[in-house]
């Protein structure tokens, strides 16, 4: 079993408004194809930890290694490229680009990466949309979709560049239980059938229970796992 993501002794401070330690000596190993959830009370530092692991936030102490690459200390440009190939994101508030169609939203990260031709990207995007059951909505403007539908499109978008790791920050946070279940099933399917590694922050107990492993956090520390 190979370790895909290794975090060692992560410490993070916020200096505003007062100096305050959000993350306290956090170390985690995440195994390939694992479906991990991070659980804990609101404000305990889950999102902060996820942004560190996703390399979007580089202001921390400690070391993060992803896919055998030490990402700590890489430049912003290197990180942007690394992220686009290795990490897909799903945010709590789905964050689609509202003026664009569903298909465009999914295609944009691949177009930016520029590895595939326009035609291949379109096929790939349709394939990902099918995976989340949204392939019939491709030409709808994304702002016209419901919350659950937008979240599914956001997952398809996270998958477009075939990242090894998918990170999600409270992906079901503002969805009803039926929609939440759909999203959960999609993640489960991705990890078991497609071999994606999934790290999802949640405070939904059901969601956490059904994942492979749950990391519990309290006041910036890992309590048990």
């Amino acid at each position: 079993m190979s370790i895909i993501l290794k975090a060692e002794k992560l410490n993070k401070f916020f200096h505003e408004p007062d100096k305050f330690q959000v993350l306290n000596n956090i170390s985690i190993d995440i195994i390939k194809s694992e479906f991990v959830t991070i659980n804990g009370k609101s404000g305990c530092g889950k999102s902060t930890l996820l942004y560190l692991l996703s390399t979007l936030d580089t202001d921390y102490k400690g070391t993060i290694t992803i896919n055998d690459t030490v990402v700590t200390g890489l430049s912003q440009n290197q990180l942007a490229r690394f992220r686009n190939k290795n990490i897909g994101f799903v945010f709590q508030f789905h964050f689609l680009l509202p003026e664009f169609t569903v298909l465009q939203n999914v295609m944009i990260p691949a177009q930016r990466l520029g590895i595939h031709s326009e035609k291949e990207i379109r096929e790939l995007a349709n394939e990902k949309l099918k995976l989340v059951g949204m392939d019939t909505f491709g030409h709808k403007v994304s702002s016209k979709l419901s919350g659950g539908q937008q979240q599914r499109v956001a997952i398809a978008r996270a998958l477009i560049n075939e990242p090894t790791i998918i990170m999600a920050d409270e992906p079901t946070g503002n969805l009803d239980s039926a929609n939440a279940q759909t999203i959960f099933n999609i993640f489960k399917e991705l990890s078991t059938a497609k071999g994606h590694t999934i790290i999802a922050v949640t405070h939904d107990q059901d969601f956490a229970k059904n994942s492979d492993r749950t990391i519990h956090m309290m006041d910036g520390q890992i309590v048990d796992n």
Binding site: S47, Y51, Q76, A80, F95, E99, F100, R112, D169
Partner: protein, 418 residues
């Protein structure tokens, strides 16, 4: 055929808020259109004035200036002992204002390949008498064919022909305004009196209208010999030599060289019309100040709209940055939007500006017998349009660049955290 992804995003942004895009574009359109209208009109006025001025001013005017340098006086000849001599307020001694070697100078000027025409002059104040009417005026004794070349006199004749002056003994070509005042016409005889009291009768051979009241109402042309006779001078007596060059822009350089070469004062047209040249400068400055202000206001419009767009798109920018869009991509996305606004605005502005200028050039100018203008003077110069285009694009570039850089600095984590 598909645009790069950055430009696709930029296009979608522009099209999703058409009204704002249009308003920002119209700001640039009006700025550019007004600039073009103003500069075309102001330059048209300048050109009209310059043309009018050149109808009354030779390219280079060579004359014998009254000397005011009395450092060498006859006094020194009497007091040779080397004492200091103080002379207060010397009066100008009797001077002849003629150009002594005029014949030589004229021949030399004719040899110059850049010279188009040389017209010797002898002018004097006169009273025009026709019956009881007596009018103060001026006569110019000229070589009429040369003079006609200088000022395009042939086209300005109202009655009679320029050549008639050559064949007639005591012929005179009169300003149209002058003949109106005297109520005379071609074939009539007029009496001229000089300030020194001599009289002479002339036969009117033609009338001309330059289009400048102060000339048409007082001036007449006669043969040089007539004026020499009136003044009681000999046949070589000439006071002024007017020169027309093939290229008017050489005037100031040639004026300097003629002055040193012939040792007489030589003024180019710009020096002779310094106040008109100053008014050109003032109009130019005015035009540029007003138009640039308009364009800068349009620039602020774009700046505002881009800032608003970017503020309402913080989340989108964060999501793009989280997905491998580097800072330069974000700048490209938003800068290209303002450039599209700028280029479209500038193009429509140029079209509108041209249309307005054209319409103005068709508006009849209020009738005035002293000004030979039929329509409002407007000129159409490609370089003004190019300048307007460039300036419009540069302004929108700057107006779009600042908010775009701000957008590119957005920290995605701060916006995306749930």
């Amino acid at each position: 055929m598909s645009l790069p992804v950055n430009l696709q995003i930029s296009r979608t942004h522009l099209l999703s808020r058409k009204k704002q895009t249009l308003v920002a574009m119209l700001g640039v359109t009006f700025g550019i259109a007004m600039f073009i209208l103003m500069i075309s009109f102001m330059k048209g006025v300048n050109k009209f004035l310059e043309d009018t001025m050149l109808q009354a001013t030779p390219d280079i005017h060579i004359y014998n200036d009254v000397k005011t340098d009395y450092t060498r006086t006859v006094a020194g000849d009497y007091y040779k002992s080397g004492e200091l001599i103080m002379i207060h307020h010397p009066k100008p001694k009797h001077v002849n204002l003629n150009i002594r070697n005029a014949e030589l100078i004229i021949n030399d000027l004719m040899q110059n390949p850049d010279v188009a025409a040389v017209s010797p002059h002898l002018s004097t104040q006169v009273f025009y008498n026709y019956g009881p009417v007596q009018i103060n005026g001026l006569i110019d004794g000229v070589d009429i064919m040369q003079e006609a070349q200088l000022y395009g006199l042939k086209e300005k004749m109202i009655t009679g022909r320029v050549e008639n002056l050559l064949t007639s003994n005591n012929g005179i070509l009169m300003g149209q305004g002058l003949t109106d005042k005297l109520n005379v016409r071609v074939g009539d005889m007029v009496n001229l009196a000089t300030p020194t009291g001599t009289f002479m009768r002339f036969r009117i051979e033609g009338t001309f209208q330059i289009g400048i009241g102060t000339i048409d109402n007082i001036k007449s042309y006669v043969n040089t010999a007539s004026v020499q006779q009136l003044l009681g001078k000999d046949r070589s007596y000439i006071t002024d030599i007017n020169v027309k060059l093939k290229d008017i822009h050489l005037a100031s350089a040639y004026a300097k060289s003629f002055q040193t070469k012939y040792a007489y004062k030589a003024d180019d047209w710009e020096t002779s019309n310094a106040s008109i040249m100053a008014s050109f400068l003032i109009r130019d400055v005015l035009t540029y100040v007003v138009s640039i202000t308009l364009l800068i206001v349009a620039g602020f419009g774009i700046y505002n709209i881009m800032t608003m767009t970017i503020n309402s798109k913080m989340k989108d920018i964060a999501i793009l940055k989280a997905q491998c869009f580097a800072r330069k991509d974000i700048i490209q996305i938003f800068l290209s939007q303002s450039l599209v606004i700028g280029v479209l605005g500038a193009l429509t502005g140029i079209i509108l500006g041209f249309t307005l200028s054209y319409l103005l050039s068709q508006v009849p100018f209020p009738k005035n017998e002293n000004i030979s203008l039929k329509f409002f003077p407007v000129i159409f110069e490609p370089k003004h349009y190019i300048f307007a285009m460039m300036f419009g694009i540069v302004t929108t570039f700057i107006a779009g660049f600042m908010p775009s850089v701000k957008a590119s600095k957005i920290d995605p984590v701060a916006i995306l955290r749930g």
